[in-house]
């Protein structure tokens, strides 16, 4: 019954999303207030019915309703309750429903917080969001319903893929989708602005907090995915080249560029068409990612089961949304040109460099992801042409980005000179390099180029991010949330640089064969394999090794890695054990039994690896602080020039746009 109720709710939600789109867009076009007033209630109704459909599917999972095909394929009666709920988004159909659920939450939020915007503008925003919701609902209903019945019902389910039975991965998709889908808000704002034919600084001010929120969720989502890959895939890497990973990376890069470009549009009223384009790109790349993951066009370690109809549908959807918005862009963007100059090494210049580099990296990633397909199209065959130089392609633009970041934070708007706060910057760079060298010599005892560059610039960015808050603190001045958030986020970038370069320079990974009683040493730590015992989990059996880690004879950690065998899917899964502290991770994962009680084990020493994810979390916190700045909450009449929070040297004529 729940399944039928679910599909019925989804159909109603679909109809409501169409009316949201029609009355929102047509109402604004014909300027009919009565029509436009329908958009907001339609959003609420749509949300209620999507939530009901979602609740129905949760109900089916929690109650082990194996007469529902999707539940039978992705759950099992022995699965712990938490994973029964998380299994909902463990495969294609359910994750689409999650996508729709999140989109409708964003829609309701936009509807609730857009009452102070001009009515035609907010109607258009809601209309565009209705079109996107409708497109995804039709996709779900037509090709990918999670509510199909299985007759006769299965006696038990096929279980959730063991690799996905993990806390971080269970919450990874909702976070990531919240980010992906959140960019639809910036997209809708951009389309609405182009339809209105008017884009001023107020527009950038409305758009920016939404974009930052979407961006911060995506940051958390990507960090969770990386953390999961690190300990769950069992080999201790923190990121790797895979179409699905890339799919989430590209919108993030463009979204980061968008946040920065929006700040220029907000403060100076320039970069308008560029900001619009980035807003379109960020969401378009989210859609392209969806297409790549679900169409089977590219091979990925974790793509969904594929079906050509689905690929075709998403492609058609891409053509309508992206193609439509880019056509609109080509038509309307030329009219939005605003004059406004800036000097070399002004704030605008640094932000432009940031944009060019970030978009450049995103372009390289897109090329790297699609190049196998291009080679195939050109008739060279379905091959990879060489080991990816992507790490290099990624790092080369990132270096200037870090340098410009450290300096650019202290640049002035319009004029090409640094603020007084920036004076200590150069000796701080010297200090950072000296510290980096000292850490390399004294702690790691080995020189490494990547480490030197990463530590130096990472520390420099951290110092640079602290300058402004410290100065204000000393002079007892207040700091706006926007500036504080920026400093926090950039502090996180520095942490990330230190973590990533540290682990890449000084990690030690060894595959060893150990018998009970045997031991192996890396980086001064002695790993002793004490014994192995059989243990039982809720839905698996496992062999658990006891590994005693000592340093200079003192016990540092007792690690218990497991090799799990899941009953239903009959698959093995290595569950790593990790000892964590502020300076390093010690990582043990079990490989295969080698006979005679011996086991192959992967032992790793990962210095500073935590700072990769901590850095990402700090970036997200920074975003959260910045997005709650007072000037984003103050209700201003539409179109009024914005002075609140503007720097003292702001454009004397802010209404120029």
């Amino acid at each position: 019954m729940a399944a039928e109720l679910g599909i019925f709710s989804l159909i109603l939600a679909f109809v409501l999303s169409l009316s949201q789109a029609f009355f929102g867009l047509a109402g604004a076009w014909r300027n009919k207030p009565a029509w436009m007033s329908v958009a907001r209630p339609a959003v609420t109704g749509q949300f209620v019915f999507v939530a009901m459909a979602f609740a129905c599917l949760v109900y089916c999972f929690v109650n082990d309703d194996f007469s529902v095909l999707y539940v039978a394929r992705n759950s099992n009666s022995h699965l712990p309750l938490f994973y029964k709920v998380a299994a909902l988004w463990g495969a294609h159909e359910g994750s689409l429903l999650l996508w729709i659920m999140i989109l409708s939450i964003w829609s309701v939020a936009v509807a609730a917080f857009s009452r102070h915007l001009p009515v035609t503008f907010s109607s258009r925003v809601l209309g565009v969001m209705g079109l996107i919701s409708g497109g995804f609902m039709l996709f779900t209903l037509w090709t990918s319903s999670p509510f199909l019945r299985l007759i006769p019902a299965a006696s038990d389910g096929a279980d959730l893929n063991p690799v996905l039975q993990d806390f971080a991965l269970a919450i990874h998709p909702p976070m990531l989708y919240t980010g992906y889908v959140g960019f639809s808000v910036a997209f809708a704002f951009a389309i609405a602005a182009m339809l209105e034919g008017r884009l001023d600084q107020a527009w950038a001010k409305w758009t920016r907090p939404w974009t930052i929120f979407a961006w911060l969720f995506q940051t958390i989502g990507i960090a969770l995915g990386s953390w999961w890959a690190y300990y769950e895939l069992g080999w201790g890497g923190w990121g790797f080249w895979d179409p699905v990973e890339n799919a989430s990376g590209m919108p993030w890069l463009v979204g980061t560029a968008l946040i920065h470009s929006l700040s220029v549009t907000e403060k100076r009223g320039i970069f308008k068409s560029w900001t619009l384009l980035l807003a379109i790109f960020a969401f378009s790349l989210s859609l392209v990612g969806t297409f790549l993951v679900r169409s089977g066009v590219l091979v990925s370690v974790h793509s969904f089961a594929t079906d050509p109809t689905r690929g075709l549908y998403i492609l058609a959807f891409l053509v309508l949304t992206i193609g439509g918005s880019l056509t609109l862009y080509a038509w309307r963007a030329p009219k939005l040109y605003a004059p406004g100059g800036f000097e070399l090494f002004s704030r605008e210049f640094f932000l432009l460099v940031n944009n060019v580099l970030l978009v450049g990296v995103a372009g390289l990633v897109l090329w790297g992801t699609l190049s196998p397909l291009v080679y195939e199209l050109l008739g060279i065959g379905k091959i990879s042409v060489g080991p990816p130089v992507f790490a290099l392609m990624f790092l080369v633009p990132m270096l200037p980005l870090m340098v410009f970041l450290a300096i650019g934070m202290h640049s002035a708007w319009r004029r090409g000179k640094l603020t007084a706060t920036a004076r200590p910057l150069w000796w701080l760079l010297a200090l950072a390099v000296a510290l980096a060298l000292a850490v390399q010599g004294l702690v790691f005892g080995k020189f490494h180029w990547v480490g030197l560059i990463g530590f130096s610039f990472g520390l420099w960015i951290i110092f640079s991010a602290l300058l402004e808050p410290l100065r204000r603190l000393r002079q007892k001045q207040t700091l706006t949330a926007a500036v504080l958030g920026m400093c926090i986020a950039h502090f996180g970038v520095g942490m990330f640089a230190i973590g990533a370069s540290g682990v890449e320079s000084y990690k030690i990974e060894k595959d060893v064969a150990l018998k009970p009683g045997g031991s192996y040493s890396i980086a001064g730590y002695d790993f002793k394999f004490v014994n192995a015992a059989n243990v039982r989990g809720p839905n698996y059996d496992a062999v658990e090794a006891l590994v005693d880690v000592t340093r200079d004879g003192r016990t540092v950690a007792i690690l218990k890695p497991q090799k799990r065998h899941f009953w239903v899917q009959q698959t093995d899964n290595s569950h790593a054990a990790i000892s964590v502290n502020w300076a390093r991770d010690l990582f043990v994962a079990m490989g295969n039994p080698l006979g005679d009680d011996a086991w192959s084990m992967r032992i790793q020493y990962k210095p500073l690896v935590r700072y990769i994810w901590l850095g990402a979390m700090v970036m997200a916190i920074g975003g959260c602080v910045a997005a709650t700045d007072r000037r984003y909450r103050v209700k201003v009449p539409a179109g009024a020039p914005q002075m609140a929070g503007a720097p003292p040297d702001a454009d004397p004529k802010p209404g120029l746009a």
Partner: protein, 179 residues
Amino acid sequence: MWKFLLPFVAFVALVVLFAFGLNPKRDIHALPSPLIGKAAPQFTLSDVLDPSRTVSNASLKGQVYVLNVWGTWCGECRVEHPQLLAIAQTHVVPIIGLVYLDQRDKAAQWLEELGNPYQAVAFDSDGRTAINWGVYGAPETFLVDGKGRIIYKFISPMTQDVWDREFLPRIAAARRDGA
């Protein structure tokens, strides 16, 4: 203002690419190689799993063998791997691996994780052997006859169909001629 049309034009190119990717008849195909019928280039390289051992195709003279070129950086190689394992199970012909432009520990881990269909895997760290063999990329699979000549080359992941249709008859013919 043509420059505002550029994003749209780029997007059209992307759509063409995606439409091609979705084409169900999108086919894998063999490229002609100028090396077909010629003597296979000689190589003597270290064994990827045991650097102290060497792998050379000189020792295979008189045997029909398959040389499969791969790398851990190659996604399609992961796709064809189960097929190679299945082929190795039939013991029709020895499969020699050539892993190129790769890292030894990564390749070893790949084999441990996914299984090892190869009689031996030669480690071509700088890719020179692959260049000698006219390798475009990975995966590629060569068939070499008893006289040491390359008689067939297949680009793209191996499939059962390709194996049955293209490789097995040629292997049988090569053995007949060689006898």
